[in-house]
């Protein structure tokens, strides 16, 4: 296995490795209970349904929700975002988003804007702090504004955004607030009540340490089911006589057999994450990032983007090295040093435009829960050798 020798620093894309309990839970579920949930009523089906709901409940509590039925299983965060945008928005709506967004937010909204379905405002962030100013969002609100959709943390520079402040502004103006928790769920605190979040989209495969193919959309009680349309219709296991999708959470938004094996893994991953205390994991990642930032400041050929401190950020930083394109440096780190990083635009072209790193992008380094100081030092040693 090549992967065993790799120093993996691409956790912002997908966390790796996973706690062994994840594979164990998936394997056990496959071997014992992997029937179609609900539908049939036999004991295996009931066990599968119960597992789905147990994990629903645990994750709902984890994000401060109060109704497990409003936790919708999705295939990833992109899926959750599409379900939210296409389910909530109506012709003529105005949407406010930011230039920090990943394409999973930017592209669906851009497509809706291009087709004349919605109007769209992108609020810029400060390249030096990596932060959105909530006042800029407040000022962008107009009479037709229906939704404010922002990322909780930049996937390029890692800065954690003032979600609560933005949520409060949204609530005060009667505007819905969607938070993209891709980079934060599992490390930074998210509370849908406290942060005024109406819709929370998140992946299972990043800091929640779950398998790929899992994710969720939490629809807070502030969004009535009648305000939504189903992004996809299909079998729900119950209410089969109805020609329409049953207007009942989670089934309204969950047509088709869910990824039960993946959710079994996500359940085990979530338990692991909670036991190891997200705040401690975040502090660990921040310490690694600070170690990296301090050392990079000493290497003349390196230019770091965003703030120079690890405070108020997830374990993600971006930089470039003189004389090498990000792709070249990424290639060298992989080929000559077996270090996995992510060069390029990180699916966030607007962020790179604001940072001045468009179109080539940057090299992104994102340590995760299982990285160590030795991993950071190995990267630094490699960078010193390349820039020597």
């Amino acid at each position: 296995m090549v992967a065993q020798e790799v120093t993996y620093l691409d956790n912002a894309a997908t966390s790796w490795p996973k706690p062994p309990v994840v594979a164990e839970a998936m394997s056990r579920f496959l071997a014992q209970d992997a029937a179609n949930p609900g539908r049939a009523g036999h004991r295996m089906a009931v066990a599968a349904e119960r597992m789905l709901d147990t994990v629903r409940k645990e994750l709902t509590e984890f994000i401060g929700g109060n109704d497990l039925h409003r936790m919708i299983w999705t295939m990833n965060c992109t899926d959750a975002l599409n379900i939210a945008f296409k389910g909530l928005l109506r012709p003529g709506d105005h949407v406010i988003t930011t230039t920090l967004e990943h394409n999973s937010v930017s592209r669906p909204l851009q497509a809706m804007s291009d087709s004349g379905f919605i109007t769209l405002t992108r609020v810029d962030f400060s390249p030096s702090t990596g932060l959105i100013n909530p006042d800029d969002i407040r000022q962008a609100i107009g009479p037709k504004t229906r939704l404010i959709a922002i990322t909780h943390a930049s996937n390029v520079v890692g800065t954690i955004q003032p979600a609560r402040d933005v949520g409060k502004i949204a609530r005060e103006h009667g505007v819905k607030f969607l938070l993209d928790g891709a980079q934060t769920i599992g490390v930074a605190p998210i509370n849908v009540q406290h942060d005024y979040i109406d819709l929370l989209a998140f992946p299972g495969h990043k800091s929640l340490l779950g398998p790929t193919g899992t994710g969720g959309l939490y629809v807070n009680a502030t969004v009535k089911i009648d305000e939504l349309t189903a992004f996809r219709e299909g079998g729900t296991g119950g209410d089969s006589a109805s020609p329409q999708q049953p207007r009942l959470f989670p089934y309204f938004l969950e047509g088709g057999t869910p990824n039960t094996v993946g959710i079994a893994g996500l359940g085990a991953a979530g338990e692991y994450v909670r036991q190891h205390v997200p705040a401690k994991t975040l502090a660990h990642e921040q310490a690694l990032v600070q170690r990296l930032l301090d050392a990079l400041a000493e290497i003349e050929a390196v230019e770091v983007y965003g703030p120079s401190t690890a405070a108020n950020r997830v374990g993600t930083i971006s930089f470039n090295v003189d004389g090498y394109s990000p792709q070249e440096l990424g290639g060298i780190l992989d080929e000559a040093f077996s270090i996995a990083v992510r060069p390029g635009l990180h699916c966030s072209p607007y962020a790179h435009k604001s940072l001045g790193s468009f179109p080539d992008g940057t090299v992104r380094v994102s340590p995760g829960a299982f990285n160590t100081e030795a991993d950071i030092d190995k990267l630094l040693e490699a960078l010193r050798e390349v820039t020597a």
Binding site: V2, S325, P326, Q327, E328, G331, I332, E335, A336, R342, P343, G344, L345, H346, C347, P359, D360, G361, V386
Partner: protein, 364 residues
């Protein structure tokens, strides 16, 4: 049989074959062989130097159906050896496969030509090879040859290998289950950059014509059912130093524990050994990755690349800017090569363009 006899017989059966009377005069082909040619389908993989000679020869000989696959457009430096193309094709910015079809229609409109502008690889080759009587190698890289080899064995279709550089050539007929296959003889793809390519070491027109004419002759034997006349040797020559050899490779089939023809383990057709391309996040660049374990020598490759650019390298990577095409189609590509054979080709988002550059300037 005399010309008059041929004319008389064709009058009753197929007058359209009359144009081939010089070929039918050759007894082993005759009218029966000519009819077999008309009924046959041939897949030509690649339509560059070897491919144009092959297509030209087989179309004139009356092969009924040719499928010609090539991913490239014609460039002025191709005309020195690629016999089906001319300056007007370049002005018209035609892909090679399309220009070949157009030219063959002028030469012999009885030949059905299917022109496919595509990168042939493990995901699509079976779509083109099924139902063919023969596969012909007009490629410039070993990876595609091993892919053709897998298809040949899997579908039990013979193929004719051909390769050339400078004044040297190699060619061989592979008949599944009868002769050794290409992997019995060459086991694996040579590491990237180990061998010079026509674009770094040059190639002479006559070399191409000798190899492709040899391939075409074997193709005629195979397609007309003259199996006993088919070469069982690896033909090898250097026509600058005047050395011509026929290597007896028959034993290779017994010696080699060949994954392809002995174990029917099609490692290239399955994609397991295929190089992969990724369009990189960022600007206009494609990354080509080689199967694990490749190692290349920057110094050696830099020597070759001096023919087309100014390569520079350090211990981590080699860079070279390569200009291709003319006029409106002129493009600049930046090749960055890493020690494990992977490459980043800037200036394109098209995987087939990147693969073509890799084959031409690095070689695999």
């Amino acid at each position: 049989m005399a010309l008059s006899d041929i004319a008389e017989q064709l009058e009753k059966s197929d007058p359209s074959l009359a144009r081939y009377n010089r070929q039918m005069l050759w007894e082993p082909i005759g009218i029966a062989g000519q009819k077999k040619l008309k009924a046959s389908r041939v897949l030509m993989v690649g339509c560059g130097a070897l491919g144009t000679v092959l297509a030209n020869t087989l179309a004139r000989a009356g092969v009924g159906h040719l499928t010609i696959i090539d991913r490239d457009f014609i460039e002025i430096n191709n005309l020195q050896r690629q016999v089906l193309f001319d300056q007007q094709d370049i002005a018209d910015q035609l892909p090679k496969a399309v220009a070949a079809k157009k030219k063959i229609a002028q030469i012999n409109s009885d030949v059905q030509v299917e022109a496919v502008v595509a990168d042939v690889n493990h995901t699509n080759i079976l779509n083109y090879a099924g139902g063919c009587d023969l596969l012909l190698d007009g490629t410039d890289n070993f990876e595609t040859r091993f892919l053709i080899n897998d298809v040949s064995i899997k579908l039990n279709i013979p193929w004719v290998y051909g390769a050339c550089i400078s004044a040297m050539g190699l060619a061989m007929v592979i008949r599944p289950g009868i002769t050794p296959c290409l992997r019995c003889v060459f086991e694996t793809v040579p590491p990237p950059g180990m061998n010079p390519t026509c674009d770094t070491a040059g190639v002479l027109g006559p070399t191409v014509n000798i190899v492709a004419s040899w391939q075409a002759m074997e193709a005629l034997k195979l397609l007309t059912g003259n199996i006993n006349a088919v070469s069982r040797y690896l033909f090898s020559f250097d026509c600058w130093d005047n050395r011509y050899q026929q290597l007896n490779v028959a034993k290779a089939r017994d010696i080699a524990d060949c994954p392809a023809c002995k174990h029917h383990n099609y490692e290239y057709l399955s994609g397991k050994f295929a190089s992969s391309t990724t369009t990189l996040c960022g600007r206009n660049a494609v990354q080509i990755s080689q199967p694990a374990g490749s190692k290349i020598n920057f110094e050696q490759i830099a020597v070759g690349l001096k023919a087309v650019g100014s390569p520079s390298f350090n211990k981590f990577m080699l860079k070279c800017t390569i200009n291709e095409g003319q006029g409106e189609r002129q493009r600049q590509h930046e090749l960055t090569l890493f020690a494990d054979g992977r490459a980043i080709i800037k200036g394109t988002n098209d995987a087939s363009v990147a693969r073509a550059i890799y084959s031409k300037y690095v070689g695999a």
